[in-house]
Amino acid sequence: MPKDSGIGASSKRREDVRFLTGAGNYTDDINVHGQAYVHFLRSDIAHGRITNIDTSAAEGMPGVVKVFTGKDFEGVGGMPCGWEVTDRHGAPMQEPPHPILAQGKVRHVGDPIAAVVADSLEQARDAAEAIEVDIEELPAVLDMKAAAQDGATLIHDDLKNNICYDWHLGEEDNDKVNEVFANAAHVTTLDLINNRLVANPMEPRVAVAEYSRGTDEYTLYTTSQNPHVIRLLMCAFVLGLPEHKVRVVAPDVGGGFGTKIFHYAEEAFCTFAAKACNRPVKWTASRSEAFMSDAQGRDHVSTIELALDADNNFTGLRTNTYANLGAYLSTFSSSVPTWLHGTLMAGNYKTPVIQVNVKAMFTNTVPVDAYRGAGRPEATYQLERVIDKAARELGVDPIALRRQNFITQFPYDTPVALTYDTGDYNGTMDKLEAAADLAGFAARRAKSEANGKLRGLGVNCYIEACGIAPSNIVGMLGARAGLYDAATVRVNATGSISVMVGAHSHGQGHETAFPQVVADMIGIDESLVEIVHGDTSKIPFGMGTYGSRSLAVCGSAMVKATEKVIEKAKKIAAHLLEASEADIELKDGQFSVAGTDKSVAWGDVTLTAYVPHNFPLEVEPGLEETAFYDPANFTFPAGAYACEVEVDPETGQVTIEAFTAADDFGNIVNPMIVDGQVHGGIGQGIGQALLENCAYDENGQLLSASFMDYAMPRADDLPFYAVDHTSQTPCTHNPLGVKGCGEAGAIGSPPAVVNAVLDALNSGGTAVDHIDMPMSPSRVWTAMHG
């Protein structure tokens, strides 16, 4: 029987009412009296030296307040990187400057050269066209392997080469790895590309900044997943402002998917310009600008090798990856191909020897950073593709091969630095096999074939490290920030509760799910609990929402703060009931004395806390508690996905006929929201597999710079999904036993789709081991017909 409230209930989302009636408050909906508008003049050349900028004509244009160039930012800090990766020799990564406006060189199409602030947006745009810029064009560096060669054109003149770092994880002894492969009964090798993607939340980025000379205070409204992180980075590392004078507000945010984690130049620019112009300043990205300036995702080129013994046990795994970082280091870009990727190469399998090698490259492209999954999809794709290829080469069932090699004992220390606390991979696979009716596949294939179509089944597993992250561990790995989170539970006199959280909701439904937890703990109606988020002037210092962390980390802080509230409330209740505190029980919003019929209601206790006429002298008045929670370990959501496709052999068109996900997220607070998160992730994963590709030409021109050219999944590209979340092994180290669900769909689905297409083609007599994503009809047709 499904619950109708509290933890485990599919409570309808309260935030929906404002979104459905046009009453949301997104950043572009905010207008400050007297605001001016910013337009950035962006480079249309991928790589070049700026020899001259003449802004004089633009400065005289109607409505122009001020024109800024890189010169205005000399002496101001650049955009910081939040994670210092150490290379295989122990040296720090190469970390080039990342100016707010270009200084000396442009390094990608979209690199901002100048900015016009004017009375209207149209005037700012018109004036930007009057800025004269002379650029001496340099060869664009795009191919990662060529970029790594000695003598390659340097993107950053003061670096020794274009390699940010050459990194390694797992087995260091090459001889030992070589021996494993030499002794293998079978070795499967696969070269593959994880295609570059653009996150494309439907809301483009916006920044509105205002400054008051009277109080020397700034307010920045911005489309961010983590307002406190933006404030810290911008104040401490870029503009040198005292944090207490800067308020950062991330109001309703229209999707993030990682790309709104990062501190962007436009945020710092608007904050700086608001003071310089003594006027509020607003910038709204066009979609074309978003394609040129939002950090992009993925873009790995990898070779993976899997060694198996004569019994088909995995004995070794080695991967070599070139990871594209783009022209500059974005906030967390360095961590993605390393600690969020290499550490996941064990997958769900007990492979004893693993070696991961990653060369991270600068190229003349838009910076690359975390996009839904961030490193974990790249790891999963490599691993789950090579396992399927091995099964095909060995003539064994791909599910049986996986089951044979599953980790079954927990906790499990992987050879790549993680300790999985819990899981049940066979149990989850059982759920998948039932939910997807895999037993009925042969009949469905026969039916498709009778209609002239090829049908394929692709299955894969995934594991991800979420609940990011234990600060002491990530600190050792190079993170320049802690990754705890925080919550303040403020009980009001009449018993309602405001919970101020560091997490930020931009589609995840925190405003509904978080109150379910607090209300459940106290035994009051969910409607009495409200979440406050997204404003540094209101919330405690929390790190925001990404990495499927909100409930596992911030939710844990909220539980701890609520526990403190309950503990204090029990003291007050004990006083009112003239009983011992140890005898007080809280159930259904009533404090009672164990074994008696004496009780006092939640609301009476909260009122007493604020009207303390009859109050225990040793207890402070009021009822408000804050907790910070730093996780002891990552959480490890895991699952098994199945995709069924039909391929039209005449055209190469792939149609998704069925997609089934079986996930183990541990305990679940709101099943409706969790299912929705998985749906969305699968939609993005299918998009990567079949449609999406961020493409540059040989000169570094961005070919896919609008929705005309970048194929976003549309409703008729996607099916209904079946999702099963009944496999539940609760996380062992956080109070709710939750693991996180936001990224799973995007991590788990691309290999299932590719494996399914390859299965279809092989069933039709085409021996093909690989097709790169996106598997467009032309790529599939070419694979079939050569």
Binding site: T21, Y26, G254, G507, H679, M712, P713, F720
Partner: protein
Amino acid sequence: MTQVSMTVNGKSVSGDVEGRTLLSSFLRDHLSLTGTHVGCDTAQCGACVVHVNGEAVKSCNMLALEADGADVGTIEGQAAEDGTLNVIQQAFQDHHGLQCGFCTPGMVMSTAALLKDNPRPTEGEIRKYLEGNLCRCTGYHNIVKAIMAASGQDVSSIAAE
């Protein structure tokens, strides 16, 4: 500047606009009806869909002056006076047909236009009709389900919401 007048959500409005002012800008910037969203600059995403004389229109792709004298409906005019959600809005909430909410106004307005012409669309008809409305959050599952529910169809056999 040219004066433009129209009826928006049943009220007469007017304003001075440039020839290049888009209907979406007029609604958002002149009338402060910020429920109409702009998610792209190529008329692809559909977050800006409004009704002009009863037809679904991408308001980023129409000049304000072209709507002179027109009857315009926006997301702000969809619920009842007392705030009660209409059938489509309620179905989107009941079936979790939105996450971040940014595409939602356009989805609701497009759905209203679809159901006016086709009161009981099939799944395939809904998916085809929504080709001009992008959503990045939901994978469309619950949007399609919500639209089927809004049109009175039994959606209990469709996988979990």
